[in-house]
């Protein structure tokens, strides 16, 4: 059975030393760090706007926002290289924005408009932006996991050195599809044919079911032992920790072609879906405590402490993000519905 190689004590120490040490190790200059802050803020404000417009009846279907989990995708996608792929479930707006999708197109997609990222045919849960490396956006819990593992196989089979970042939730790991895919990933990885980076976003709930109520074995990372896939955990609220971890493990997956799993401990600061008004499964007190570890607030504090930004600079970034979001909402609102002729297009691949 596999033995996990954890980051050495020294390496882990560097990661804990904080912003300056990590930025130096990763070769991130101050502008890059402020850029990461800008991304997280953009996500937060985008999600706020999405929830607001959902309640105004402008977004059909369903809506799951990423507020509270920003550090996870922001940190991991900072290690994303051209040619890599990302695949996730329905909580996917952040991934699209981080990979470079136009916020206007993403918002328009949520609104179901013809100018949307996938012409208004996918909606919130089915964002797709292949040119930027986003391979979806899937609504069936666990359904995308075999796809991601298969893509990773295909990449190595065709000789590329791409890595597939496969995001999954703490609820999805109990799904049959996870087991079948993880088993194959472990198996193919033995021959260097499965560069899947499993990013388990443990936000502690699958809808209203807490991890303790979903499984008798709550150390979710260790579930990967069953497939000989090595793993570790990271504080998913701390962008700096995620950045350092992401860089290290992505390189490892790229070099070895073997899968690897990181459990990012995080928290959904908002309801599961935008239409959920009652949260009987968790206390207000609990949410309040977790807000103390708001990933954006934590990062702000680190930026300030390290002198990378001052209050005024942070404020300017927030204003800028707000403008982008306002613009996206306006664009979506003013965009037309998809034309009727589009009803039958994009259903099957074109015959070549």
């Amino acid at each position: 059975m596999a033995t996990t190689q954890r980051a050495g004590k020294k390496q882990r120490q560097t990661e804990q030393d904080g912003l300056t040490a990590v930025a130096e190790a990763l070769g991130f200059d101050e502008e890059t760090l402020r850029g990461l802050y800008r991304k997280m803020v953009l996500i937060r404000l985008f999600e706020d706007a999405a929830q607001r417009t959902f309640r105004q009846g402008k977004i059909g279907g369903y809506l799951h926002v990423y507020s509270g989990q920003e550090a996870v995708a922001t940190g991991f996608l900072a290690a994303f290289q051209e040619g890599d792929r990302a695949i996730t479930a329905y909580r996917d707006h952040a991934h699209a924005l981080l990979l470079g999708s136009d916020p206007k197109a993403v918002m328009a997609e949520l609104f179901g408009r013809g100018t949307g990222l996938v012409k208004g045919k996918g909606g919130s849960m089915h964002l797709f932006d292949v040119a930027n490396g986003l391979w979806g956006g899937y609504g069936i819990v666990g359904g995308h996991i075999p796809l991601g593992v298969g893509m990773a196989y295909a990449e190595r089979y065709w000789g590329s050195d791409a890595v597939v970042q496969l995001y999954l939730g703490d609820g999805a790991i109990h799904n049959a599809a996870y087991h079948e895919a993880a088993n194959l990933a472990g198996l193919w990885g033995r021959d260097g044919l499965n560069p899947t980076l499993f990013i388990l976003e443990n936000n502690q709930y699958g809808m209203g079911t807490s991890v303790e109520r979903a499984t008798a074995m709550t150390d979710l990372a260790a579930k990967f032992d069953s497939y000989a896939i090595e793993h570790e955990k990271v504080d998913g609220m701390d962008l700096v920790a995620v950045l350092a971890c992401a860089q290290r493990v992505t390189e490892r997956v790229r070099e070895t072609g073997k899968p690897y799993a990181v459990e990012a401990l995080t928290y959904r600061l908002v309801a599961h879906g935008a239409g959920d008004f009652f949260e009987k499964y968790r206390t207000k007190e609990e949410v309040r405590t977790w807000r103390e570890r708001d990933p954006i607030g934590l990062f702000e504090q680190k930026l300030l402490a390290a002198g990378v930004a001052d209050e005024q600079g942070l404020g300017a970034i927030r204003d800028e993000a707000k403008q982008i979001v306002d613009e996206a909402v306006r664009f979506a609102d003013e965009s037309p519905e998809p034309p009727l002729e589009e009803l039958h297009t994009d259903v099957y691949a074109d015959a070549e």
């Binding site: 059975m1 596999a2 033995t3 996990t4 954890r6 882990r12 990661e15 804990q16 937060r44 706020d48 929830q51 607001r52 509270g68 109990h174 049959a176 599809a177 996870y178 087991h179 079948e180 088993n183 472990g186 198996l187 033995r190 991890v211 303790e212 109520r213 979903a214 499984t215 008798a216 074995m217 709550t218 150390d219 990372a221 260790a222 579930k223 032992d225 069953s226 497939y227 000989a228 090595e230 793993h231 570790e232 955990k233 504080d235 609220m237 701390d238 700096v240 920790a241 401990l265 600061l269 405590t289 103390e292 570890r293 708001d294 954006i296 607030g297 934590l298 702000e300 504090q301 402490a305």
Partner: protein, 378 residues
């Protein structure tokens, strides 16, 4: 509406993996405990059961009954292949090499009330739970008297509601969630019944295994997942099936024990399954037992195993035939002598002959009854 950005109110900012000297900004309820940095080392988590010794304190009468069932299963099994090769049965799939594991498991249960969910190799288990040689021959010859379904099911899809043998489905591993379900029902109703579900190591790659185990784990259900690991799933050897050595190691992921046992050692399997059944009845939850066995025949009558394994390999395993091993053990402990053995073998021979005879004479199902045995009938 807006999820306002909040900075930590305490001055100390640190990662969740705190070193214990500074207070953490987040709640203590974070789980798994965030200071548990060392989590994640893969270890062989299953227990390896020791070989059995002597008669393990079982009455010799019981040992002889166990032996009789192993030998009967082998004889019925061989007969199935004969009728298939003679062109009288379209299909045979059976369990030669697995018998001792199955009988060890069956005798560890309460055969008067527990529930079993066999798969197609569980001929011996099914006999131990009350099916007869005649029932099995009816099934392989597709006669109306087949208790599983009046010949609707394929052969080896053992089942009898009366005997609490839950009829098998052909898709691999579907019996596992069913077993979790019967165990859940037993728990809710307080019947004290234990469910035992059998499957191959190939079947453990199915998602059904994962969901069945996880659910059984959370609810601490009285179920035993009994893996008969014969090292092949048709032509696929275990090392092309999974990247780990023991299926039983997977139990750890669901929060219950896994045990590896030599499936050619009937009494060792008996001990392990007994412990699992006791644990289940005490309300402590499931156990995953992995019996390492070997399949002596091709996968089914439609398979040619020479294409994926060498005759030498099969021969080497046949030298550890569980039937012969058990016979030797019983002689050693004085439970079996030439005379009793001859008597048992004679009885089995006539039993199998009569069963074949009866099944060959028996009628095929009446075509006008084709829509029966589909839904429950009042």
């Amino acid at each position: 509406m807006a999820t306002e950005i909040k900075r930590p109110s305490t001055g100390a900012i640190q990662g969740a993996f705190h070193d214990g000297t500074t207070p953490r900004t987040g709640p203590d309820s974070i789980h798994p405990p965030l200071d548990h940095v060392d989590v994640g080392a893969g270890t062989i988590s299953a227990t390896v059961a020791p070989p059995s010794v002597g008669d393990e304190g079982l009455p010799h009468e019981t040992l002889r009954e166990m032996y009789r069932l192993v030998a009967l299963a082998r004889a019925v099994d061989e007969r199935m292949w004969q009728v298939n090769r003679a062109g009288r049965a379209p299909f045979a799939v059976s369990g030669q090499g697995h018998e001792a594991a199955q009988i060890g498991a069956a005798f560890a249960l309460d055969r008067s009330k527990d529930i079993v969910l066999p798969y197609y190799r569980d001929l011996a288990l099914s006999l131990a739970f009350g099916l007869t040689a005649s029932d099995l021959m009816m099934s392989v010859l597709a006669k109306a008297g087949d208790p599983a379904s009046g010949a609707r099911q394929m052969p080896a899809h053992y089942g009898s509601a009366r005997l609490r043998i839950v009829t098998a489905s052909s898709p691999v591993s579907t019996q596992l969630p069913h077993a979790t379900g019967t165990a859940y029902a037993a728990k809710l109703r307080g019947t004290g019944q234990v469910s035992l579900a059998c499957f191959g190591e190939g079947g453990s790659s199915k998602g059904d295994f994962h969901e069945a185990c996880n659910f059984a784990g959370i609810h601490k259900l009285p179920v035993i997942f009994f893996c008969e690991n014969n090292r092949y799933a048709i032509s696929v050897p275990q090392n092309l099936q999974m990247a780990i050595d023991n299926v039983a190691d997977r139990a750890a992921g669901y929060g219950f024990p896994g045990v590896v046992v030599d499936g050619t050692d009937l009494l060792a399997v008996h001990q392990v399954v007994k412990a699992a059944a006791d644990r289940a009845r005490r309300g402590e939850g499931p156990t995953l037992v992995e019996a390492k066995v070997y399949r002596f025949t091709p996968h089914t009558s439609d398979d040619d195993d020479r294409t994926y394994r060498s005759p030498e390999e099969v021969k080497a395993w046949r030298a550890r035939d569980p039937l012969a091993l058990f016979e030797a053990r019983l002689r050693e402990v004085g439970a079996l002598d030439d005379e009793t053995l001859t008597e048992i073998k004679g009885r089995i021979k006539s039993e199998v002959n009569e069963a074949t005879e009866a099944a060959e004479q028996a009628p095929f199902p009446d075509p006008t009854t084709f829509d029966r045995h589909v839904y429950a009938e009042r």
